[in-house]
Structure formats: structure tokens, C-alpha cells
Symmetry: C2
Subunit: 292 residues, 2 copies
């Protein structure tokens, strides 16, 4: 078997194939999943049906899938199994998977989270995983080491898209906000995971709602891939979202609710109508994000 | 059914019953679980057997159980099910459960993690859950709101026990380290979750390896419960670990490997020998931590 290509290359291939730096966030919200799929408030099978239908609809039309574990775990272990199945299916369809887990722990616990998220069966075998930097570099090292050895990506939270991000991330540290210090701290990992290439397998989460911060982050971490959540339902425009993206290869913009739950889909009475609504939503996002 | 008592009261009852502020960390490490239980590197049933035997050994002899999800998730969804079963069993035995998940996310994702960890079946229904503050107060609010409504605890990472904790947590913000600013940010939540009582259902993670920081944190958050990891295998002494604990009711000290994997247990050839080794380890920790 040929060695896999680096995560950045796999993501770039997917961006070129679909023509837009669009990542679809897989956020199964029980009260928004149409009854066509079953009652997702009661039955995890409805969630599985919904995820399968979404994957079929978006394959080839976006650059990555971002399953959000926080929407699967409330269903218990069977919900985790659905998320893992969606990951396996997406990868089989050629979609790189960025698992949104936001894990962060130390030592052998961090090793466990690496195996659970990036590792092979019974792990998720995702292409990339989101991690939280609050515990420091030694908590990130097991992820970096595994990424380096297995051509995976690691997406570190730097400046998130929520209003409360300012509470800690904007606190001033020697004249610059904390998120700048976090970005500076990641520079060696960026180089290490670039392995001499133009783009690194280090990804950073830089909320699409903060375009000025994204541009500053781009200057600090020129080779890092960006994961920009907040586009669409959270209010960021396509221009905002692309602020740090550099010619379409600098990362992906993530959209969840605007793709999964467009108003027309809520009113669909047949699966064909639902699919038409989803197709329209994904085409609208692709058109906005591919326009230069 | 009578309303449950607040988390702090349940924890205090457990501390008084067993006579020591000892929390046992449930960290199933595949390579350290004795072959008596099966091969934990291959078979999650060995992990379940081990957890059951540990729970039987520690019931009534410690004040809380802290299952570390990072050691269960590598087994996949069935591993998560084992962690949830251990939580259910521990609570049935009268042991409050602090689920070590270190979750942190925003909005409806945070709501999902609340349901998954503190919520009833199919959630874990833990008594308390560890959370990461990097995303700010709006990411913690769903946990605080649920804790307030359901008498649960929330344990926020403030100063962790790992060497790399200094990378972010010690950065200077207007003359004080970041962890002090995080503690200050939590003061309103401490009061809110105290509901006029002496002790709050807000818990903070303050590594046992940093006794001076623990004393400073105690001054900043006088009503908060402390969760002090790092005692035993991570090198903190009992005196270090108890630095912030205030007369035995200010929180719990967590020990994992020193209780689960004492050297004598590794050599045990029978279940009775193994149990003798575990009993000795827990008695040693209780004696150290109950001494004033």
C-alpha cells in the first residue's frame, strides 16, 4: 500500500476537486432533523439516516467534513458509533474528515485521545482533530507526534468564533492578546508539520467572525492551514470567512446549519424535495466561497 | 422522590463517611491491567472486569471516583459504554462521580456536552464534569446553568498539574499569571453555585504539584471545591496535595496509578492477592490524606 500523502495535500486535492474551500460541519440537531428521517429526538437511527443522506448529498461538492462530537455524544455510546460510521463513510467517499472534538489533556490521557480520534479502528481514524491549547505544549505533543508519523492534521484552537472568546483569548500578555501568544507558541509545530513544504499539516481554528484577527494570524503562521468556523448561520460573510485563506489553499471555511438545515429543507415533504433544498444550499455556499 | 442535595453536600458526606478527601482516578491503562482480568490490550471486557473489581474494592473507602474518558475512548463506543457503566455503578455504591472529560465548546455544542456528561440516560449522569475555560464564559454557561438547576458540580481547569501548564497558564496578564485571571473570572459562578451556602458546587482543578498556587487560588475562590490531581505517581506529596483543601472539606485529592497499579498488584497471581494489594494502596493513601 502506498504511503498516504500529507493531510495538507489531501485537503488541497479535495479543495481543487470541488472548487471551493468549503468544509461542511456535521451537527445533527435533534429538533431540526426533518421527520422524513425518523424522530431524532428519540431515536439515534434517525441521526444515522440523516448523516448518510447528507454525506451522499455533499460528496464531491465540498472539501472536508467536520463531525461535531458534541452533537453525537448526547445519544450515548451509540451516538459515538454513528459519528465514527460517518467518518468512515466520508473518507471512503474521498472527503477528508476534521473531527471536531476539542480534546485537551496530558500525558498518557492525551495519548488515549490521539488513538481515539486519529488512530485506526476502534479509533475514528479521522484525518485531523481539533484540540484545545490551554494545558500547554506537552498536551499537544502526542497529537503532533502522531500527525508527523501518520500524515495527519492537528487543528489547534487559537481564536474562536464565539462572543465569549474575548474572556481569555483577548487578555493582554506583554502588549499582545493571548491568542497571538498561542499562535507564536505554535510556530515550531507549524514548521515541523510542514516538513519543508509550503503548507503545514498544522491547522488553526480562527473564527470566521474575526477577519482582522485572521489576517494577523496569517502573518504569524504563514504555512498553517486555517479552519474558519462561523460562516453562514453565525453571521460571518464569505469575505470575512476567507480573510486568512490566501488564494483558496490556506484552509477551509466551515458551515453547518446553513447547509444542513436550510429553510426549504424544513418544509420538504419528500426526500427528493429535501435533497433539492440541500443541493441548493451547498451550491450557494460553494458559489460564494469560490468567487475570488 | 426527594430532590437531591447539592453536589458539595454529597461530596462532603462522602468525605466524612470514608474519613479522607480522596478521589480515585479511574484510568484503565491497557498495558498495566493484570492478566487476571483478561487482555486489556485486545479486549474491552477486561477493562470492564477491572473497573468492576476496582469499584468493589474502593466503595466506602474514598470520597469520589474520577473516570478519565481519555482512557476509555480509545476502545471506541464500547469503551464509552464501559465508562458510563462504571459511572452508574459508582453512583449506586454511593460514590460521587467527577467525570474527567475536559470538554469545552460553544452554544448548542456545549449544550450537547452537558447532556452527554451530566444529563440522564443516555447521558452519563455524572455528579460533576471537568471543563476547559479557553473558549470563555459563554462556553461554561450551559454547564453552570445545568449544575444550578440539577444540583450538579462543574470542575473548571485553572492550574493543571503538568509541566507544560506554564506555557499558557503562567503568561503574565497585567501583573498576574493567566490562571489568576481565570480564577477571578470564575468568582461570580462560585457565588451563584454556592446559593448562599459556605461551599459552592463550582470546583476548580488545581494541580497538587503546585502547592503555592493552590494557596493563592484558595484566597481568590474561598468557596470553591478543589480537585487536586498529581498526588502519588505524579510526585506531589500529601502535604502539597492538601495545600488548598482547608480542613478536609475544601475538595478532594485525586490519585490514579498509585491506587490502581501498586507494584504488589502487578505481581499478584490470584484475585485475592490483587485485592490485598489494592486494599493496601488505598489504605496508605487514606492514612496520608486523613492525617492533619
Amino acid at each position: 500500500m502506498a504511503a498516504p500523502s500529507p493531510f495538507a495535500d489531501r485537503l488541497h486535492d479535495a479543495i481543487r476537486r470541488c472548487g471551493a474551500p468549503l468544509c461542511v460541519g456535521l451537527d445533527p440537531m435533534p429538533e431540526r432533523i426533518p421527520a422524513l428521517f425518523g424522530d431524532a429526538r428519540e431515536d439515534v437511527a434517525a441521526v444515522a439516516n440523516f448523516c448518510d443522506a447528507i454525506l451522499e448529498a455533499i460528496a464531491g461538492k465540498c472539501a472536508a467534513l467536520k463531525p461535531q462530537l458534541g452533537f453525537f455524544e448526547p445519544y450515548g455510546p451509540v451516538g459515538v458509533a454513528v459519528a465514527r460510521d460517518a467518518t468512515t463513510t466520508a473518507r471512503a467517499l474521498g472527503l477528508p474528515v476534521i473531527l471536531d472534538a476539542k480534546r485537551g489533556d496530558v500525558g498518557s490521557t492525551a495519548d488515549g485521545y490521539v488513538r481515539a480520534t486519529l488512530g485506526p479502528d476502534p479509533g475514528f481514524e479521522a484525518d485531523c482533530v481539533t484540540v484545545n491549547p490551554y494545558l500547554g505544549l506537552d498536551s499537544l505533543e502526542p497529537f503532533f507526534a502522531f500527525a508527523e508519523a501518520h500524515q495527519k492534521g492537528v487543528a489547534v484552537l487559537v481564536r474562536t468564533s464565539n462572543p465569549g472568546a474575548a474572556d481569555l483569548q483577548d487578555l493582554p500578555v506583554d502588549g499582545a492578546p493571548l491568542w497571538v501568544r498561542v499562535a507564536e507558541m505554535l510556530a515550531p509545530a507549524m514548521e515541523r508539520l510542514a516538513r519543508g513544504r509550503d503548507w503545514s499539516d498544522l491547522m488553526i481554528v480562527a473564527g470566521a467572525t474575526w477577519p482582522e484577527e485572521s489576517r494577523r494570524l496569517r502573518a504569524l503562521l504563514p504555512k498553517a492551514l486555517f479552519l474558519a468556523p462561523g460562516y453562514g448561520a453565525q453571521g460571518a460573510t464569505a469575505a470575512d470567512a476567507k480573510a486568512g485563506l490566501v488564494g483558496g489553499l490556506g484552509g477551509v471555511v466551515s458551515a453547518s446549519r446553513s447547509i444542513l438545515y436550510p429553510p426549504a429543507a424544513a418544509q420538504a415533504r419528500t426526500m427528493a424535495d429535501w435533497r433539492t433544498a440541500i443541493d441548493a444550499a451547498i451550491e450557494a455556499a460553494r458559489a460564494e466561497l469560490s468567487a475570488s
